[in-house]
């Protein structure tokens, strides 16, 4: 079959896609009707179903348009039900219906997949989950970005006003490492028990690692996470939501010490925060009626309504999963985890993956690709 492939035609088609302004900067797969039909055949939902609206831009996106973008992103057809679930999960987020996609913070979707679909499509949930190398991980996240760009018409420097954006904006999609997690799947905590395939998603402002291969004490380990979560830079408002994607080693250490997910959240809620003096030093010691922090004119000695009286202000609003998402992913080879910085808060709801996710044509097996 190789002799029938036409690289010159492929290059011309790719250049055509660039010339239309459809690309995020990387080459696109030019989509034809037969390819679109393969994508639409993976779902029973109608092609003209409107799956997202942005009233402020007078734009909407249909399932068909989403499928074209997913195909352009490099997805295989059987990934499309996951793209749809990820999109639907993102649409549950308050920020995505507001100004999130246009924001100066340039937030990135965080897409976490649970259940058998991970193996069906070959989605990475172990080593290097935040990195490259796996087609489903790379292309499902990219599909979301292309839908925002092309269907919503939100282009950088125009309706998208990211000051700096962030690395990996359309690249963060992985499976939860359920096999090495001591806890129930994220999707179960997010309302879908039973082990089915599901997607949880929210928007992030960045990620920051916590490398702790130093202690066997659960409290010391959690204190290391609390220190990272409590940075003042993230505090625009009174509180800032966060998440932790624990490496299996860290999750196991905590579980062995008796910590459930809820226990971890409760501990971090108690311990994440900064003193009024710290907040004064960075000009964020005041909190206005609208909840936005500001630099107080006084010397910072006066207490702020709502703090604990000793001047300690908590970073997290409470111990609710919507404000502290916890997942487990990565290789079981080191105590290296990721704190993720929320753009707003998380809906706390997972969306089931519905559709035909078994490959209909032979995919390049991951093993063979290595």
């Amino acid at each position: 079959m190789t002799e029938l492939l036409d690289p010159d035609a492929a290059q011309a088609a790719i250049e055509h896609c660039y010339a239309q302004g459809w690309s995020d900067g990387l080459p696109l797969v030019p989509v034809s009707l037969p390819l679109l039909e393969q994508f639409l055949a993976t779902t029973d939902r109608p092609a003209d179903e409107v799956i997202g609206r942005l009233p402020q831009l007078d734009r909407s996106v249909t399932l068909e348009t989403a499928a074209i973008n997913a195909a352009m992103a490099g997805c295989r057809p059987e990934y499309f039900p996951v793209v749809l679930a990820a999109w639907d999960a993102l649409m549950l987020e308050r920020a995505t219906g507001g100004g999130g996609w246009q924001s100066t913070s340039g937030p990135a979707p965080l897409i976490i997949v649970n259940g058998p679909v991970r193996d069906e499509i070959g989605l990475n949930s172990t080593g290097g989950v935040f990195g490259p190398g796996f087609r489903p991980n790379a292309t499902i996240a990219r599909a979301i970005g292309l839908i925002v760009r092309n269907a919503f018409g939100i282009h950088p420097h125009v309706l998208e006003q990211a000051t700096q954006g962030l690395p990996g904006r359309w690249q963060i999609c992985f499976g939860e490492n359920e096999a090495d997690s001591p806890w129930e799947p994220l999707a179960a905590e997010a309302g879908l028990p039973g082990g089915g395939s599901a997607v949880s998603a929210t928007l992030l402002r960045t990620c920051e690692f916590v490398d702790n291969r130093h202690t066997s004490s659960a409290e010391q380990l959690l204190a290391d996470f609390a220190d990272t979560i409590s940075r003042t830079g993230v505090l625009i408002f009174r509180h800032a939501s966060a998440g932790v994607v624990f490496a299996p080693d860290h999750a196991q250490l905590l579980a062995d010490a008796g910590f459930s997910r809820a226990d971890v959240r409760a501990w971090l809620y108690e311990h994440c925060g900064r003193s009024l003096a710290d907040l004064h030093r960075v000009g964020k010691d005041g909190i206005g009626d609208n909840g936005v922090r500001f630099a107080r004119e006084d010397d910072g000695a006066l207490p702020v309504p709502g703090d604990d009286g000793d001047g300690f202000q908590r970073t997290l609003p409470d111990g609710d999963p919507r404000h502290l998402l916890i997942a487990v992913a990565g290789a079981r080879n080191a105590g290296i985890s990721m704190v993720v910085r929320m753009f707003a808060d998380w809906s706390g709801r997972a969306v089931p993956v519905v559709g035909r996710t078994a490959p209909t044509t032979p995919a390049q097996p991951l093993e063979a690709a290595r």
Binding site: L33, P55, T62, S103, N150, Q161
Partner: protein, 198 residues
């Protein structure tokens, strides 16, 4: 599709991912982007006695800036500030309710401040919306967000819609600096409210 493509065959079309036309139905997608432009509101060259509504969008210093401009307009141009409102969500279009209220109680609207990715575009959309309801509007945006504000004007069918621009940044200004900004903006705001629209 696994059928090999022969070089002599007519190639398939490359599909458009923007949703502007439905590939399967061959018809325009349900939500068009070409909302017809409404007429901009007629101007009265003399502002004396006119009622002004102020719409702030919760961006830092927006309320103060509008208060200062309102006070200057009252002192120097004989207007009355009859309404103040705060947008619930700065990224979203102003609600029908607020437009109706302003249309009933005001002759002019000032809205501020376009000082973020979504709210600058939204402020311009609101200005055009008020114009369509018959209220001359002065929208105030930070210069840092001109590109997105202009893009929204085009989306709303009013390319080149004029608004007042103020230097970036706005959020970190002290109250005294905000008052200075208000003085500096006043001629532009008056020009937008009283002058002939381009």
């Amino acid at each position: 599709m696994t059928t090999p493509t022969l070089p002599t065959r007519e190639p398939n079309a490359i599909l458009d991912p923007t949703g502007r036309t439905s590939v399967l139905a061959g018809a325009p997608a349900p939500a068009g982007t070409d909302r017809p432009a409404g007429q901009l509101a007629p101007r009265r060259p003399d502002l004396t006695g006119l009622r002004v509504g102020l719409l702030e969008n919760t961006k830092h210093n927006a309320a103060l800036l509008l208060d200062e401009i309102g006070a200057l307009l009252e002192a120097e141009h004989g207007v009355r500030v009859t309404r103040r409102a705060t947008k619930q969500v700065f990224a979203m279009p102003v609600s029908d309710e607020v437009v109706t209220e302003f249309a009933g109680d005001c002759d002019l609207v000032i809205t501020a401040v376009g000082d973020c990715g979504s709210c600058s575009a939204s402020a311009v959309a609101d200005g055009i919306r008020f114009e369509q309801a018959g209220l001359p509007a002065a929208v105030i945006c930070s210069e840092a967000f001109v590109a997105t504000a202009d893009a929204m004007a085009e989306l709303r069918g009013a390319p080149g819609y004029r608004y007042a621009r103020t230097a970036h940044p706005v959020a970190v200004l002290s109250p005294q600096q905000v008052a200075e900004r208000a003085k500096h903006l006043l001629p532009d705001v008056v020009g937008l409210l009283a002058g002939e629209r381009a």
